[in-house]
Amino acid sequence: MHFFWKRLLGTIPSLIGVVLVTFVLSHALPGDPAAFFAGPAANAESIAEVRAKLGLDRSLPVQFFHYADDLRRGQLGNSLTTGQPVLNDLIERLPASLELTFFALLFAVAVAIPLGVWAATRPDSMVDHACRALVSIGAAFPTFFIGLLFVYLFYFLFDIAPQPLGRLNEIMYTAPPRITGAYTVDSILAGEWSVLRASLAQLVLPSVSLGMFALAPIARITRAAMLQALGSDFIRTARASGLPARKILFSYALRNAMLPVTNVLGMVFSFLLGGSVLIEQVYGWQGVGAYAVNAVISSDYAAVQGFVLAMALLYVLLNLVIDLIATAIDPRVRFES
Amino acid sequence: MNTPRLEARALAKRYPVGNRRKGAMLHAVDDVDLVIQAGESVGLVGESGCGKSTLARLLARLIDPTSGTIFLDGEDTTALSQAAFVASPDRARIQVVFQDPTESLNPSFRVFRSIADPITRLLSIRDPAELSDRVHRAADLVGLPRELIQRYPHQLSGGQRARVGIARAIAVEPSLLILDEPTSALDVSVQAVILRLLADLRERLGMSYLFVSHDLNVVRLLCSRIVVMYLGRVVEVAPTEQLFTAPRHPYTQALVAAIPDPARRDEKRPRLDGSPRSPVDPDPDTCRFFGRCPIGTERCTQSAPTLEPVGDEHFAACHFTTVVSTERGDP
């Protein structure tokens, strides 16, 4: 597992970069950071107080040191709107966002990869055209617009989806005891199957609308990668060796095609984490995205900063996982390092 | 003897590889001496990765050597860095014809601009009439029909592109032309045309050639002397016929024996097996060919052979070439 540690070490520059950028965004930009942190209702006196408290009267390197030290201790400051430490707020809401993102990814991957493979094996067929149409359309729809359309169609018009108001209909069900914070997992752990069903029902529309935007890049790259793999020299060799079509398609072409697909997953996660902010807004989902939107509107800066930092750390972590998967698939990457 | 057109002394090019801290160096070209006389045509052969292309680029001053000097007509060109040499008038005196005629032409330039660009830059000719006159003269020299001068490279055939590449190089009247595998991307029938053109041009313009190729049969046609490289070093230098009939270095022997030859189809010829040693930090006391060499002994790991005279104008770097003129013999 030599490369594992190498990859882990490789994330350090990204982490430093992330911390530096969030610091720059909060401390070193034009405008008065103290005014930001003090909130919209502050007067000159309280701003000065905040400035001293945050150490903003000191030099930038010193400020950065304090900032990094606070981060190390998990001090992200207090939210003005909730009055809670930002860290607590984030921890409370993060599982909801992760649950949503996970199901969105699941939907996107489950639809896009088979579709891309299918389209690539029959170029210029109906399936191929359908795939390309879906990709073009999927990439053109703003996440929030899809979300609203789904609500209008499936809740208002056809009445087959539950009310788009959060993670669980709190009038009919009580949330399962918190273990992971993800309702689906917690309800399974608690054996509360009706709650599981209810929370899954709430999840369907938001995760499908969020997944729609990830669908396009995955299907597109799967199709392209499969086409390229199927046209490559080693597939010709496999055909000339008389290997069965199934084996050529799956264990030769698809495995090679998975490399570009894994590489595009990084971008897909970027879309998903960004899009989840909008989807949470549309569906009243009590995740970190909705929390951040409220914080932005009410200039609750510590909360916004904590959110940006948390998402960036999460994203760095996800990229590490993607990297490890790519390394597991491709021996060349393993030997490169 | 007259001042050579080009003389390289102890030329070396090393590239750092892998972890910077360990300081491992890839020895692409190592301690190479080379002389090309005025009007002479020298062949440079060796397998891929032996450093012949790097050497050609060093001599063309496209890259800076790690150490060593290059004299052009007796002047040290290495006094200037590559970046400064680009702007010097000497730049026009060495030109290169590149390997792939498709890749070596700017796809967004018409033929005229491809040939005219070096003329304006190196000879400072900006007068449109004179420029166009020069371009046409170069095109005529390589037998490129004038109606093709306003075309883009993708509208030309492979042979026509090769002609453009040659026209561009000779348009600035160089005294040394480096030919880097100029025909390896062409079909034999086109190759024949280009080779004859090159032979003809040399005669008419009196240029010196350095002809880099992996194909001994092709080099033979144009060159009077051949330099053989192996893993960054020159292992043998000999007049062409002598190199073919009496190669002295075991690598050259294998190289000559490997040329497909219907006339010798049933002969058992020496073959070279195995793969070359690593060019990264090679042991200075071991012959680079050791391990692949059919006659190598322990002695080859104790001191690396250097280029020694083994005959008239003939040099080889091997402990086991029986030499009459020196006391060094077979141990």
Partner: protein, 283 residues
């Protein structure tokens, strides 16, 4: 390529792919809206009418009216200037800066490359929409800052693309030939390499434009950048969202559809351009 050759290829590619032609026509219409919006719009986009609130699409109001009785068609038309403007300015700025940085990193390598690449990696270490939110929140809630945020998050794509394209060509024969012909580093880069990477870069611009529109609209949707009552598609969708559960679909569908149409056309145009420039498909 000669102009006639280009025209022939263009005619060929468009004939081959009618959708690209359609997308060009629609985009031209959108650009006309962006330029002459206020002249074309049947009503004043800001004029409220208390007697005609939430009127469904009709002859008088083809797209209906919103909660304040404003004509949605007029607002959708006038919004084109802001939406397209933000995206075009952001895409062109990031294109120019990204091309310059990427070309330098790709051609010179060494420490300029390391610094530029490290900065781009750091931007890419964030989920981009989240970073855009953070930038707008830090710089202040304004249209200009939305554009700046969009430029920043788009920069890595152009920069990396240009870097890779330059890197491929740096070692190619025609670049070495240009150096043999007396071209120094900057002339090689500017006269020989950049003209050859412009066509693929333009494809990127076109493909990226749609994404830039989506980002700007997304930011407006959550209340960043544009403020009411300014007509802008994202904020109109957001305003219309509250009327979904009472069934007034036109309030959010039309501005949303305008967004989709614009993004869709830019994507199609990008695909069409890519086909057009693909040497394998040249006649």
């Amino acid at each position: 390529m000669t102009f006639a050759g280009f025209a022939r290829n263009a005619a060929y590619a468009f004939g081959e792919n009618r959708l690209t032609l359609v997308s060009v026509v629609i985009l031209a219409a959108l650009v006309l809206c962006a330029i002459f919006g206020p002249l074309i719009a049947p009503y004043d986009p800001l004029m409220t009418d208390g007697t005609a609130r939430l009127v469904p699409p009709s002859a008088a109001h083809p797209f209906g009216t919103d909660a304040l009785g404003r004509d949605i068609l007029s607002r959708v038309i006038v919004a084109a200037r802001l939406d397209l403007g933000m995206a075009v300015i952001a895409a062109l700025l990031s294109f120019a800066v990204g091309l310059a940085l990427g070309a330098i990193a790709g051609y010179f390598g060494g420490w300029p490359d390391r610094i530029i690449s490290r900065v781009m990696d750091t931007i890419m270490a964030f989920p981009l929409f989240v970073l855009a939110m953070g930038i707008v929140a830090a710089l202040g809630n304004s249209v200009l800052n939305v554009i700046i945020a969009t430029v920043v998050i788009n920069l890595p794509f152009y920069c990396r693309f240009a870097r890779a394209e330059v890197n491929v060509r740096r070692e190619q024969g025609f670049v070495e030939a240009a150096r043999m012909g007396g071209n120094g580093a900057m002339p090689v880069l500017v006269n020989h390499i950049v003209p050859n990477i412009l066509p693929p870069m333009m494809v990127q611009v076109s493909l990226n434009m749609g994404w830039a529109i989506l980002n700007a609209a997304g930011l407006s949707f959550i209340g960043l950048g544009v403020r009411p009552p300014t007509p802008e598609w994202g904020i109109m969708v957001s305003e219309g969202a509250s009327f979904i559960i009472s069934g007034e679909w036109w309030t959010f569908v039309f501005p949303g559809a305008a967004l989709v149409l614009a993004v869709f056309c830019f994507n199609l145009l990008g695909d069409g351009l890519r086909d057009l420039l693909d040497p394998k498909r040249r006649v």
